[in-house]
Each structure stands twice: as structure tokens, then as C-alpha cells.
Symmetry: C2
Subunit: 531 residues, 2 copies
């Protein structure tokens, strides 16, 4: 399994090797501070930085700049993700940052209130996109496309009250992969889960939590491989049809399906007792209905749980639930062939918020190692999620023609926070430039020679810098190289100029050799190739 | 000079070789249709595509989706640009899509009316960024940075009335490179011009128009090397201080400097006669003042024109103009060392719209070959521009501390239109995926084997696809490979399975060889490496 981006293989390998797999002992300590750090980072963004009379210099609430250091980390993460999407044959696509407001209505349910609208300055009413899925469906319908496998990396905007603990931003980057078209069942769905596994393994974020099967009345709990020191990572799958079927056979009136669903969705944050209370006291379910649901939503396991639910006397009454179970069974067959069935648990508590899902749903959640062995792992946050949405494209088609879709979205911000925090904890220094050679001189009035020389290097495709000074000190120039991690220095002086040579210095070893000027480019290229 | 992106060197080379350097004879024909095509493309974007009751499915006015084909071209162009920025030691930076509205006020002069505001939904008043320069200055001031060399690739938004002829969009991508900090004069400025030359040469967009020197009373005109068949490309430099000094000595009242400047800015679109009329009739300049200006703005040349203007009895009265001329002289000295002085003309008609420039300004414009030899080349549009803005960071600093800056912006949309149009003209087909191997079978009920096999390939980092069908026809599978340009096919059947072998087929030659299953990955990697 390739764990590295293909573009900068070796650099990336070195970086990730050091940064994403820290020494085991120390890591456990690091784990506990994630939420605090996310809080600190976000809080600092929300504070005014400077004042000029009344002008406060800051970025808007819930947004941030990415510094060069952060950009390097971001790009490495995106490389891993996009390489994986391309490995699976996806095409690229881009859509505008804003859509006609009408395109986004009735797609997100309650969350619609989080959409950013643009001011009416005359002309069309516009809104910033809320995700990349709805614009994709709009693109499919607008161009009358019947099938497409595409990826899209882009920013989306949501007016969330920044809950600092969870480190949520109002502007964030999503990486989406979707397969649209009529195909034989569960093959694209299985590929989406394979992609999530490849990306999360490639980023070495955490260890897949191999859940032990627990039947609906059992009491066994998760087994976490703490020895590896990474965060436990839980990848869960379910199906909207099983959920709806379960609600129906438990006696939930159809009008309360979505409300009940949103209570269930909280099970990863609050206990069953509290969820039950909410369902009875706030959502108005009968206590015995809630208890029946409780029997189901505490079930988790693998394909064996699917088999078991087929035999369940209550659930097997629901045609919808049976359809979902049949698809899940087939899905697990394919996941086994892909070698990832063990990493994915079937969990009836998985609900997913968005309205447009119609079938299989899945979510990968990073957990925090508990302080005490007996405690439950805490939910750090979702890092990947998705599912099947067979109706969305049809909503944009004048005749309602459907194009079934399944897809996934990688949550880059949270992955980024974890990687960044890990780097801070271990005091890693990363290069923010790729400069290979620095052009220096020990002499005054040598700017002209330096400029001529550096133009030669640039024209040969070599990444080169010099100081923008007429007469910089040699020590200043060498310090700059050490600070910036530039590996090579070309030194030109009067003597060298006279003899038609240059000195090539290795910053690490401080070794200097004289090289004929005409051989300089070739020698540098040789050294860069070897390193 | 490296003309290729470093990331996908060979692919890019092949692509650009074919696409950007079309046969000479045909190209001249292509050249004339650019504006028509830009018009057609934009018009199609502005038309409603479909209706569902009252719902019109389209992208907002002046925006567009980028299809997979367009994304490939876009990415190749960005690779060339970003590689160049990195070659010059720039760090990456990202800023939010929107800024506090206050950050953007008083930065763009008249153009401020083009800024997109967000709706007041409670909280801060926000606007979409108008360029990448002001957010950069805000970042520098907010973080109290004294120097930085950064690049930024991102979208910006402007509420332009889409003048379809010019192919302007309301959402477009900018690629910016800027050097901030106190340095010795003109070294960073010269590097910015070097970067523009490297990028425009690397993209092979046009031939630099080597302007012949023309003194202020001469009549010689441009020499265009039509034989090469590419568009003529004009790179001009001037200085705001020379412009202001010229206005002063010609008798323009200071209150009319900017208005006069905006008339001058039109000289690339309308004749001097019309500009003169506008200055006298609309801007209220005395006819003799306009005529004095006319003597200057029709001057163009190289460093010899700088020398000549030093001697100019009127202009040399202006301290400001002399400062500008001194800097331009030094700039030309450095441009000569960089080997690009010949490509850059000093043109007093260059004005640049934005308010924040304070010194050297420059712009690269693609021209259309005139239908007749005697005609002037027409202006197709600016593809790169920039200049020095020493006051902008200080506007964000509470104590007004200045950080001098110089930078450039590459206009990707226009470059993109030209490359895309060229590709259409030549009917080039480009691959929208990078898939290397297709997994096929001639037999029914072989999905399980195909899935197992493709997972092996993915896990080895090989880009692979299969059809999402239980029983696809072999011919359908092979056609898919030919259509998508996939070079290799692995074929698995009952016989192969029994013998532990697979067939590896070259799509181009249709040759098939049997390979032991355990050697498959190695063999594929060998073939991909060799190709």
C-alpha cells in the first residue's frame, strides 16, 4: 500500500515518517491536548490583532490564514488524498464558489440556516456553496450527464457558531470523490470505503479500531491497540433504509423519523441514557418505543450482525430494512475481497445529518485515547464520511431523471489540526521553500556577477536565491542558508572570476570544492539527483 | 530555460509540445477567432440551461464550471506558474475567500463598486476578496512581518459587467508573487520581471515583441516576428513617479492626475486622437496641456529612452520623475544581466488602474496579429501585470509602519482561453484520468477475481480501474480503455486462474503476454517506468 504522495515521494516519506509516526511513549501525552490546542488556535483567530483608530486587523470570525508552514503541511495532506483519488480513476472538476440561491434550497434540511448569502447588489440572488456535493449534482443535471467519477478539492462555507472545542471553522476545505451512474449494486460503494481506508492509512492518522462483534444483548466493548500509540480510528457503516425500517418497526411515527434520527446522531457524544431522555421528553416518543430503539442502536459488529438482523423477528417485517441488509451483506462481500472488511464496523447508531442520503452511509471518526483504561474512547471528530444519494441529481432535472450517486468527503481541517499539533509537540522544523542553491559572495560590489550567475541557474530550472543587497556579509548569507535549509551554496569572488571557477559548498558538511563555471549546472544537477 | 512544469515533466512536455506549439501556418488562422470564441464561451455560460417549473439550472452570471478537460489544461498551466514561483524561493500562503469589508475600503479607488458584499446575516460585514494583494498586505501587517517572499494561487471575485468580447469573468483565478521588505533598490523589481518572462516563455503563449526604439518625435513602429506564428506579446514597463512628474510638468493640476491617468490607460484600446479628445472635452485639460502629454505618451523604447528623458528640459524639472528615471535606469542594468532587457519596452502610455502602485509598474499584453500588415496589432488582453506598492502594508499598521512591496499577478483565465482555443482548433484529445491499468475479464461471474486483483494493484500504488458491472462484455471493456487512453489491460479468465497467470495487454499494440500472477505488479511497474 503506497502511503506516500506520488509527487514528492521522497520528501514526503521523510516528512511523514518523522511527523506522523512520533515515538510511542510521547504520543499518548500529545493526544490529550488536541482539543485544547484546537481551542487555542481558534480563539487566537477570533481575537482582534491590532487596532488603527477603529480598524481592527483580523480575519473574519471562524476563518484563518494559512502560513507558509501550514501550507506545506496542507499540501502534503492534499497530495496523499488527490493521489488516491487519481489512483481510482477520478477526473477533476471545479465549480464556482457561489451558486444561485435556489440551487441550495431544500437540500440541507435544518442546516440551510448555516448558508452564507451574498448581498443583493442587483441581479441574481447568490449563496456561497455549503458543500461540494450539491454543486456536483447541479453540474451533472445541467450538462445532462449520465455517469461520471470525479474528485473535487475546494473550500466550502458554513455559518456555524464556532464551537471552539471541536475546532470547527466557517471556511474549510473539502476533498470529495463521487461515482455517479447506474451500475451493479455495491461495487462503487465498496470502492468508496476502500478509498477512505487507503487515505487514512496513507496519512497514518490512527489505527483502525477493530471492533469485536457485539450482539444486540451482549456487553462486550471495543478493543483498542494502545501499544501503537496512534489515535484509535473507527470506521462505521450503516444504511438509511435499515434506520428508517428500524424506526418503523419500533413504532416511531414517520413524521418523527428525522427528529429521532438527529437524536441517534448524538450517540457518539452523549450516553444512551441521555439520548433516550431526549427522545422521550423532547421528541415525544413513547418510553417503550425508545427502549426498542435502544436495543438496536447499541448493536455493532460486522457481517455477522447483518446475518443476525436478517433473522430479527421485528426488523425483518420491514421491506426497506431488508433491502438495506441485503445491500450491506453484498457490500461486506466486496469489502472482504478488498481486504478491509475487518476495519469497518456495522453500527446502527450511525445516522449522518444530511437530508440527501438514501442508502449506505459511512463515517470515519478519530477517537481520543481515554485517560483511564476503563473509560470509553472520546470522539475527536469525523475525518471522512459519505454515502449514497440517489435522488439529488433528479432534483435538478426538469423531468426528474435520476442519476444514482455514491461518494465521500475527507475533512481536511481536522486531519490538518492533528498533524500540525503533532508537529508542534515534537518541535519539527519544516522547510517552507524548495530552494536548492544559494548564490553568495564574500566580496563587495559583486552584485552584477551574482545576478548573471543566478539567471543561469534559473534558466536551467534550478531553484535558486540570493540576498537582495548590494553588499551582504558572507556570514549573513551562510546563516540564511542554514536557517532556510538550503543545501548548496555557490560562492563567487574576484579570484574565482579571474580563474573561471566557482566554489560549490555543501551547507551540511561545510565542504567546498572548486568547479569550472561551465560545469556548474551539470554538477549541481548531479548533486541534487544524488541527494 | 525550463519551459516545463517540474511535477509531471514528461507528460507536460508532450502535451505542451503538441498543444502550445501548433504548426505555424494553421496558427495564424486560429489567432483571429480568439475573441469570438471567448464571446461564445461566455454567452453559453450566461444562458439558462434547463428549466424545472421555474428553476433555471445554471451557474451564476459571469462564472463557470471547469470540466475535467478544462481542469487538465488549468492544472498544467498552474504547474508551470507555481514551479517558477518556487524556483525563485517563494513560500506559499492562503487567506480566506472573504475579508472584513473594512479591509477592502479605500484600496481600489473607483473599482470598489465591483466588490461583492456578503449579506448581513448578523455579525461582521464581509466582502469577497477583490485581489490577492490586499489580503497579503493585511497578513503582513496583522502578523507584524517585516519581509516575506510569497506566492498565492486563488480565486478572486469582481462584479464586472461581463464584457463578453474581452472574455472577462466575475470569478477568476489569480497567481500572485510578491516580495515584501526593505531591500536595495530594483533587485526584487528586476526579479519580478524575470519571473514574468520565464512564465510567459514557459507557457509558449506568444513571441516577445522586440520594440524598436522610437524617440519622442520619431515615427518608427513595432516589428513583429510573424513568421513564428504565435501571438505578439508586449511587455512594458514604466513608473508611477515618471507619470505623475510628466503630468506636473505638462501643467495638469494635481487634482486631475488620476483622471488623466485613466484616460492614458485607454491608449492600448483607442487612438491618441480619441484619448486627447476625452482629456480636453471630458476631463477639462487645456488643449496645449493635452498636446504636451501627447508628445510623451507616444514615446516608447528601452534604456535609451530613459537616457533621453533625463535630458528632457521639461521632464527633468520634476524631482519625482528623475527619481523614477534613475530607478528605471538601474532596473534596465539588472534586466540586461538577466538577459531580458531586449524583451521589455519602456512605454510612457502604460498607466495601470489600481490606486496602490507607487513606483515601477509593468504589464504583459497579448496582441492579435492584424489582418493587414500595415495595421496595428490589436490588444487581446493583459496576461501578467504588477508593480511596486510601498504604502499598502502601512495602511493596515496602527503606527503606519511601512513595508515596501513589489509583485506580479498572472491572469490565468486569459491564458487558459488561448490554450483551450488552440486545443479545440487542432482537435487535440487530452486524457482526463491518469489510469495506468484496466482490469478486464472475458468471462461471466468473475467479479470477485477482478475485485481481488484490482485491490492488489491499488495497494501497490498503481492507478487502476474496472467496470462496475457483474458481467461486462470484453469488447466493452477494451473499448473503454481505448476511449480513455488507458495503456495497459490485465485480463483474468478461468484458464488463467487455473494456471496462476494473467494476460497483460498493451492497448496500443494489442499485444498480449502471459505473466505469472506474483510477477504482475513488478512487470506493470517496469512497463510504466519504461514508457
Amino acid at each position: 500500500m503506497p502511503q506516500l504522495g506520488l509527487l514528492h515521494g521522497r520528501v514526503w516519506a521523510a516528512l511523514l515518517g518523522q511527523l506522523l509516526r512520533p515515538p510511542r511513549v510521547v504520543c499518548i501525552r500529545a493526544v490529550h491536548s488536541h482539543s485544547q490546542v484546537a481551542e487555542a488556535v481558534l480563539t487566537s483567530q477570533l481575537k482582534p490583532h491590532q487596532e488603527k483608530s477603529n480598524l481592527i486587523i483580523k480575519t473574519p470570525k471562524g476563518t484563518r490564514d494559512l502560513s507558509p508552514q501550514q501550507m506545506v503541511v496542507r499540501e502534503k495532506i492534499l497530495d496523499v488524498i488527490v493521489s488516491c483519488f487519481k489512483r481510482h480513476g477520478a477526473k477533476g472538476l471545479d465549480t464556482p464558489a457561489f451558486e444561485l440561491k435556489d440551487m441550495l434550497t431544500e437540500k440541507y434540511g435544518e442546516d440551510s440556516r448555516l448558508i452564507y448569502d451574498l448581498k443583493d447588489q442587483g441581479g441574481e440572488l447568490l449563496s456561497l456553496r455549503y458543500d461540494l456535493t450539491v454543486p456536483f449534482a447541479r453540474y451533472m443535471a445541467m450538462n445532462k450527464l449520465k455517469k461520471m467519477k470525479r474528485y473535487h478539492v475546494g473550500k466550502v462555507w458554513r455559518r456555524e457558531s464556532p464551537t471552539v472545542v471541536q475546532g470547527r471553522y466557517r471556511e474549510f476545505c473539502q476533498c470529495d470523490f463521487d461515482i455517479a451512474g447506474h451500475f451493479d449494486p455495491m461495487i462503487p460503494d465498496a470502492e468508496c470505503l476502500k478509498i477512505i481506508c487507503e487515505i487514512l492509512s496513507g496519512l497514518q492518522l490512527g489505527d483502525f479500531l477493530i471492533k469485536e462483534s457485539r450482539d444486540c444483548h451482549g456487553s462486550e466493548r471495543k478493543s483498542i491497540d494502545k501499544a501503537l500509540g496512534l489515535l484509535p480510528l473507527s470506521l462505521q457503516v450503516s444504511d438509511r433504509r435499515i434506520l428508517d425500517g428500524m424506526f418503523a418497526v419500533c413504532g416511531v411515527p414517520e413524521s418523527k423519523f428525522r427528529a429521532t434520527c438527529s437524536s441517534i446522531d448524538k450517540l457518539d457524544k452523549i450516553s444512551w441514557k441521555d439520548v433516550r431522555h431526549e427522545m422521550v421528553a423532547q421528541k415525544g416518543l413513547a418510553p417503550e418505543v425508545a427502549d426498542r430503539i435502544g436495543d438496536y442502536v447499541q448493536c455493532h459488529g460486522g457481517v455477522s450482525l447483518v446475518e443476525q438482523l436478517f433473522q430479527d423477528p421485528r426488523l425483518s417485517q420491514s421491506k426497506q430494512a431488508l433491502e438495506g441488509l441485503r445491500d450491506l451483506k453484498l457490500l461486506y462481500e466486496y469489502l472482504t475481497l478488498f481486504g478491509i472488511a475487518e476495519k469497518i464496523s456495522f453500527d446502527l447508531s450511525l445516522a449522518r445529518g444530511l437530508d440527501y442520503y438514501t442508502g449506505v452511509i459511512y463515517e470515519a471518526v478519530l477517537l481520543q485515547n481515554p485517560a483511564e483504561a476503563e473509560e470509553e474512547p472520546l470522539n475527536v471528530g469525523s475525518v471522512a464520511a459519505g454515502g449514497r444519494y440517489d435522488e439529488l441529481v433528479g432534483m435538478f432535472n426538469p423531468k426528474g431523471h435520476k442519476v444514482p450517486c455514491v461518494g465521500l468527503s475527507i475533512g481536511v481541517e481536522r486531519i490538518f489540526s492533528i498533524v500540525e499539533q503533532r508537529m508542534k509537540t515534537f518541535g519539527e522544523k519544516i522547510r517552507t521553500t524548495e530552494t536548492q542553491v544559494f548564490v553568495a559572495t564574500p566580496q563587495k560590489n559583486f552584485l552584477q556577477e551574482r545576478l548573471k550567475l543566478i539567471a543561469e541557474l534559473w534558466d536551467a530550472g534550478i531553484k535558486a536565491e540570493l540576498l537582495y543587497k548590494n553588499n551582504p556579509k558572507l556570514l549573513t548569507q551562510l546563516h540564511y542558508c542554514e536557517n532556510m535549509g538550503i543545501p548548496l551554496v555557490v560562492i563567487i569572488g574576484e579570484e574565482e572570476l579571474k580563474e573561471g571557477v566557482l566554489k560549490l559548498r555543501s551547507v551540511a558538511s561545510r565542504e567546498e570544492v572548486a568547479i569550472k563555471r561551465e560545469n556548474l549546472v551539470a554538477e549541481i544537477q548531479k548533486r541534487l539527483f544524488e541527494s
